[in-house]
């Protein structure tokens, strides 16, 4: 990795430069919230955003995507190519950068998902430092820092960005499109100060000690029933979660019924039919069992395979859940036995 300083005023140069080679996607305002959207004008980019409604996963694993097109008559695939335009995701916070690595474990792994892979390989990531909001708790998982998984990372140190450059492409792009200078000792000191201030700014301090064991041990706890009573079973938490990857697959025929497409769409383990099988059997019929499964899988199921918890503390689910259920509360309930 190497480092450069970029004057804030010059950042639009970089964005404009990237736009000549890539589709640039960054945070823009939607009402009083933010979303990641293609950027036409660098001025639209809201680098002061707290978090977005949907995480960046939609740029790799869209809410709905055609896996293949087929012909009914002979049951043949006519096309399963993935179109993945060269793209830059600009302004990702550390939690989101980390979330993509958790997704990678799933979509690469034993069988490689060609759709996810094509987009992942064609997308550069430009990270951006942030300020914790009242829903953030990435500090609990160590996902408040991104050490890899980006091409360029911009840390805001006042009138300049302290840019960490991870990849060859990142280095070339910085060289090509924006004026930079070498870092000095003073710059690294400013960087350290920023980091310390950031860490000190968290309101949430979640005790995650022995959480995987705790959640396994408390499988029969009444807290799950209490949470199940509140849960709206709407699946909003899963949709907004940068680390939720479950999907459904269905076929859709064109009106003439001769050709069609196999489509995958985001799904949620909070939906009642998620674990239903034929003959009326449903392995997770109750809301309580489903909400329990969501946490069980995130805190222990995934961890049992990849040694990481499947949550980056981005707080999106806390914002999305109208019933007021969120990991901070659930972890607290696991520890105290009381749902607040």
């Amino acid at each position: 990795m190497f480092f450069r300083m970029i004057e804030k005023e010059r950042l639009p140069d970089l964005i404009r430069g990237l736009s000549t080679e890539f589709e640039v996607v960054g945070p823009v305002a939607k009402g009083d919230k933010f979303v990641f959207a293609p950027i036409d004008d660098p001025a639209d980019m809201r680098l002061d955003y707290d978090t977005t409604i949907l995480p960046p996963k939609k740029w790799f694993f869209p809410p709905e995507e055609t896996m293949m097109r087929f012909r009914v008559a002979d049951n043949e695939v006519v096309d399963d190519e993935v179109y993945a335009p060269p793209r830059v995701l600009f302004g990702l916070h550390p939690c989101d950068i980390n979330s993509l690595q958790l997704m990678d474990n799933v979509f690469f792994g034993a069988y490689i998902d060609p759709y996810y892979r094509a987009r992942r390989e064609n997308t550069l990531i430009v990270g951006l430092s942030c300020v914790p909001s009242e829903t953030c708790f990435c500090n609990a998982w160590g996902t408040d820092e991104a050490h890899w998984g980006f091409d360029i990372f911009l840390s805001d140190v006042g009138d300049e960005y302290f840019a960490s450059i991870r990849s060859v492409s990142g280095a070339e792009l910085v060289d090509r499109h924006v004026k930079t200078r070498e870092i000095t000792d003073n710059d690294t000191r400013r960087f350290q100060e920023r980091t310390a201030a950031f860490k000190a700014a968290f309101e949430n301090h979640v005790d995650t000690s022995q959480l995987p064991l705790l959640i396994d041990a408390k499988f029969e706890s009444p807290i799950w029933d209490q949470l199940g009573e509140k849960c709206l079973a709407c699946g909003a938490c899963s949709m907004v979660c940068p680390t939720c990857y479950c999907y459904d697959v269905h076929d859709e025929l064109e009106p003439d019924q001769t050709m069609g497409r196999r489509v995958r769409t985001w799904d949620s383990c909070q939906f009642k039919d998620f674990a239903a099988v034929a003959h009326g059997q449903n392995f997770r019929d109750s809301r309580a069992s489903r909400i329990k499964y969501r946490y069980y899988h995130k805190q222990w199921g995934y961890l049992s395979k990849f040694e990481r918890v499947l949550c980056v503390g981005c707080g999106r689910c806390s914002r999305a859940c109208k019933a007021g259920i969120n990991p901070v509360k659930v972890i607290e309930a696991l520890q105290t036995g009381v749902v607040s």
Partner: protein, 247 residues
């Protein structure tokens, strides 16, 4: 052999039938897959004695409607209910609360006698078994085409059972509750892609209460941030008067 299809309407505004004609790009293709035996809105001709598929729009508001439906059920292998009126009672059912005589008086003046055949408005499946449902007020063309495709393939009805908020998130809408406005998406059956919230308007519940909805918890949410529990109850009346809500 192409299935013989009839299109019928009970108490409705014909909007869902209009939506079928609004599949312009595909209308002729669809008509090529079926044998259209009766469609009063679009074609002259009489209701035939034999047919395979009956598409029914509208709520049941008279005994004649009920008789017609029983007759249809006896003849058709497949019955498809389209639209809020047919699937949940919809807006016609809003007239189901209170006294019919008063409503006659309001509309026609005092002294008008309620015809004996009138009944409280109700969805089609309150009278006969319905094989496929296309909810919504009006129906969405592409959903109708999907259901029709399932009918032609002999697949089972597959109306989504979850509520709207998941798809609303996918549409990246700012939730109405965040600004203290109630939205029925919390309890309404998904499948429209959260059409109304995406257009800046809270969901009005035209697809009916989702089987998986947690109405009790939704009431609390309305109490906290959506204009009170009564706002939920009153909003639900618009389309869902004929539905039993377990609160």
């Amino acid at each position: 052999m192409a299935p013989r299809v009839v299109v019928l309407s009970l108490a409705s505004d014909f909007g869902c039938q209009v939506q079928i004609t609004n599949t312009e790009d595909h209308l002729l293709t669809i008509l090529g897959l079926i044998e259209l035996s009766y469609w009063q809105l679009a074609s002259s001709g009489h209701m035939p004695d034999e047919y395979d598929v009956a598409i029914v729009e509208g709520a049941v508001t008279t005994d004649e409607h009920a008789h017609l439906l029983r007759d249809v059920r006896g003849k058709a292998a497949v019955v498809i209910a389209i639209g809020a009126c047919a699937t949940i009672g919809g807006i016609p059912a809003l007239a189901g609360s209170g006294s019919l005589a008063d409503r006659y008086a309001t509309v026609y003046g005092d002294g008008v006698i309620v015809p004996a055949v009138r009944r409280a408005p109700a969805p089609v499946d309150s009278v006969i078994h319905v094989d496929y449902h296309v909810p919504g007020c009006p129906i969405d063309q592409s959903e109708f085409l999907r259901v029709l495709s399932r009918v032609l393939l002999g697949l089972v009805d597959h109306t989504p059972d979850m509520t709207m908020c998941g798809s609303c998130k996918i549409a990246e809408n700012v939730c109405f509750f965040d600004s203290g406005v109630g939205c029925l998406g919390l309890v309404t059956r998904a499948g429209c892609g959260a059409k109304c919230p995406s257009l800046g308007r809270p969901c009005t519940g035209c697809r009916g209460i989702a089987p998986d909805a947690n109405v009790v918890s939704a009431l609390e949410v309305f109490e906290r941030a959506g204009g009170g529990a009564d706002a939920l109850r009153s909003a639900l009346d618009v389309y869902n008067t004929a539905s039993e809500v377990h609160v």
